[in-house]
């Protein structure tokens, strides 16, 4: 076991997969000679050269689409978006081409591509750079959506995503890139569609993905220390496929659920979870399902205010306490 950053975990996953499969090619803005805008790919160009690490012009629609075309012929491109917010200029390529060509061809082809990059607010860069599009993309059958919360999950899930034969939208978080976790030295994979109980508990289920998992873990500590409430934290890890059984089993045990996300509430991941829980575990619930999400406006710039806009442990605690 080594204590490494989320960023290093991603880099190691890329490095191992580049070495493992000659069809893996990392493509994006500043990924090669600049060593990555957020240094995820640092050192990989020096190690693997121009063929495997490819700098692109600022043309997301162009290079995302190019990656999709190359994937149709059997390459396994890993496309880095400097921010997932920039995916919006490539939306047609992602949704219509990556997401739909398999279906529209009656299953004659597949698109083994990974599109990855940070998808988070909280860095005071204004609304254009703070989007969290996991709900938008999980709404598109044909696409898979993954959002790791820790370095361990980031590495195992990225390796699996690269080997997956469908398009995987891999959502990271700039606020986590420098955070450290224990990660095994040996190779491991984490399947998509398998949630993880990050903290077992008996009184309430806090269900989240990405950085919101860490918010929930902090909230759980405080709930235990100050309110004698034992919260279970369920990390979805993958949004689509979605591990509904782990979510439902947790709710059946605790009888209370709060769904937490850094995205906006309307048609959010929490809305989907709440629907699933009420439909399939209604009789197990002792209270209405609570939701905590970003406050429902474009991401505000003002640094102290943006902290208030995103879910924090206090808001999670307040929601839990209001469930009664």
């Amino acid at each position: 076991m080594a204590l490494i950053t989320y960023r290093e975990a991603l880099r190691t996953a890329l490095d191992e997969e580049i070495l493992r499969d000659e069809n893996v090619v990392v493509i994006g803005e500043e990924v090669a000679q600049y060593n990555g805008a957020y240094k995820v790919t640092e050192g990989l160009w020096a190690a693997h050269g121009d063929t495997r690490l490819v700098d692109t012009p600022i043309s997301e629609a162009g290079f995302v689409g190019m990656g999709i075309g190359a994937a149709m012929l059997g390459l396994r491109p890993v496309i880095e978006l400097m921010f997932w917010s920039f995916a919006y200029v490539a939306f047609d390529q992602i949704v219509n081409n990556a997401g739909c060509v398999r279906y529209m061809s009656g299953g004659l082809l597949n698109v083994p591509i990974v599109i990855r990059g940070p998808a988070n607010g909280g860095t005071n860069v204004g609304a254009t750079h703070s989007h969290t599009p996991e709900n938008l993309l999980a709404n598109m059958p044909g696409l898979k959506v993954v959002a790791p919360a820790t370095a361990y999950d980031a590495k195992g899930l990225l390796k699996t995503s690269i080997r997956d034969n469908d398009p995987v939208m891999f959502m990271e978080n700039t606020l986590l890139y420098g955070e450290k976790w224990e990660v095994p030295d040996n190779e491991y994979l984490i399947p998509l569609g398998q949630a993880d109980i990050k903290r077992p508990g008996s009184d309430v289920s806090l269900i989240a993905h990405g950085r919101a998992v860490l918010t929930c873990l902090k909230a759980a500590e405080l709930l235990a220390a100050e309110h004698d409430i034992d919260a279970e934290v369920v990390d979805l890890r993958s949004i689509r496929p979605l591990d509904e059984e782990t979510v439902l089993n947790s709710v059946r045990k605790t009888h209370r659920a709060v769904v937490v996300e850094e995205g906006k509430p309307f048609c959010g991941i929490g809305a989907q979870l709440a629907s699933t829980i009420q439909e399939r575990a209604f009789d197990d619930l002792d209270a209405p399902i609570g939701r905590v999400a970003a406050l429902d406006a474009p991401a505000i710039y003002s640094p102290p205010l943006e902290k208030r806009q995103l879910p924090d442990p206090q808001r999670v605690i307040e929601k839990v306490l209001r469930l009664s």
Partner: protein, 357 residues
């Protein structure tokens, strides 16, 4: 508008001299097959046998047949939504194409794609794409994969004159030049971006293809009514892609006999009937190539009539095949979404992929 510019420094190809009599007859037959397929599909569209849009290729046949006839086992094709001509020219059968229009399970895409989304990866035909210009980055990507794998092939990526104003196309040209990709972009310029004429939709100097100058990409513009000329001029670009791994932008001037789609209510308002008749009478690619083959004594008028008759019969047989074919099952709605699920792999064993309550 029909001025011909020679590509600087390129000598004319001798590709047509390699054609045998049988090759020439096959090329004429393929053009008739497209013409009759389209006429037949229009008839049954109007009878309510198919849904959605129907963008007919009639009038443009020499472009698809001429260009695709140049391709070999390492070469690939991708096009936009007016895709029936390219599909047939690439070797797809009328049966699978007609059945797709009828929404049947025997269609090339099992009835899941429709008119705009024909696919045949086994024939290196990658669709059939519905969003204007959306296929142009994919064409660059196919060429990227060829180059990455050291395969000496090329990708022909077709688009309409309306698509040249999409940002994705400009991004694709830049990437193609920057990465030196073996892609040939072919603008099939039929003069109208749906109902908006070229002059009202595109800012240009001498031609649309001239925009390639800005990206330092070789380009050419020529009339697409003569199949020999189409092959001659396109072959230069194909060879440039295969041998020098360099992109080309071609503008092939052509004409469509019908509206943008069959649902184009104004098809006879933005074009005069004189303009349409002039093309049909004086520039029809089937007539021009037929006459050339008569002059060469490759075949007789009776042979041409026989080819036409056979094409009509093949199209009618395709309708019968489509009519008799089963519809997809309701359970088919949820297949062909994810490869891992369809193939019941280990990767697909975890979690829910579909959320039908």
């Amino acid at each position: 508008m029909h001025t011909v510019l020679q590509s600087p420094g390129e000598s004319r190809s001798t590709i047509n001299e390699q054609l045998t009599k049988a090759d020439k007859i096959r090329l004429l037959r393929d053009m008739y097959r497209i013409r009759r397929f389209e006429q037949t599909s229009l008839k049954y569209y109007n009878l309510g046998r198919m849904g959605g849009f129907l963008h007919l290729y009639s009038g443009q046949e020499a472009v698809a047949v001429g260009t695709i006839s140049l391709l070999g086992e390492n070469d690939h094709v991708i096009t936009a939504y007016r895709d029936h001509g390219h599909a047939l020219a690439a070797g797809m059968s009328m049966n699978e194409c007609m059945a797709e229009l009828f929404g049947k399970a025997t269609g090339c895409s099992k009835g899941k794609g429709g008119s705009m989304h024909f696919f045949a990866p086994d024939k290196r035909y990658w669709g059939g794409h519905g969003i204007v210009g959306g296929q142009t980055p994919l064409g660059a990507g196919i060429a990227y994969a060829l180059k990455y794998k050291h395969i000496p092939g090329c990708c022909l990526c077709y688009l309409g004159d309306g698509a040249i104003n999409q940002g994705a196309f400009h991004e694709s040209l830049n990437l193609a030049a920057l990465f030196q990709l073996p892609v040939v972009y072919i603008i099939e310029n039929n003069g109208y971006s749906m109902g908006t004429s070229q002059k009202r939709s595109s800012a240009y100097k001498g031609s649309l293809a001239e925009r390639a100058e800005a990206y330092n990409i070789a380009w050419d513009v020529f009339i697409g009514e003569d199949l020999y000329e189409v092959r001659n001029r396109t072959n230069i670009a194909v060879e440039r892609a295969r041998k020098a791994q360099q992109p080309t932008l071609l503008e092939i001037q052509t004409y469509r006999y019908y509206g943008h789609s069959v649902a184009d209510a104004n098809a006879k308002k933005y074009r005069t009937s004189e303009e349409i008749d002039d093309y049909k009478n004086n520039h029809d690619p089937l007539q021009i190539f037929g006459k050339a083959l008569l002059n060469e004594e490759v075949l007789t008028q009776a042979d041409i009539q026989e080819i036409d008759k056979a094409a009509k019969e093949e199209a009618n047989a395709a309708v019968a095949f489509a009519e008799e074919s089963p519809l997809p099952q309701e359970s088919d709605i949820l297949t062909d979404v994810y490869w891992e699920v369809d193939n019941q792999t280990e990767a697909a064993k975890h979690g829910s992929y579909f959320f039908n309550s």
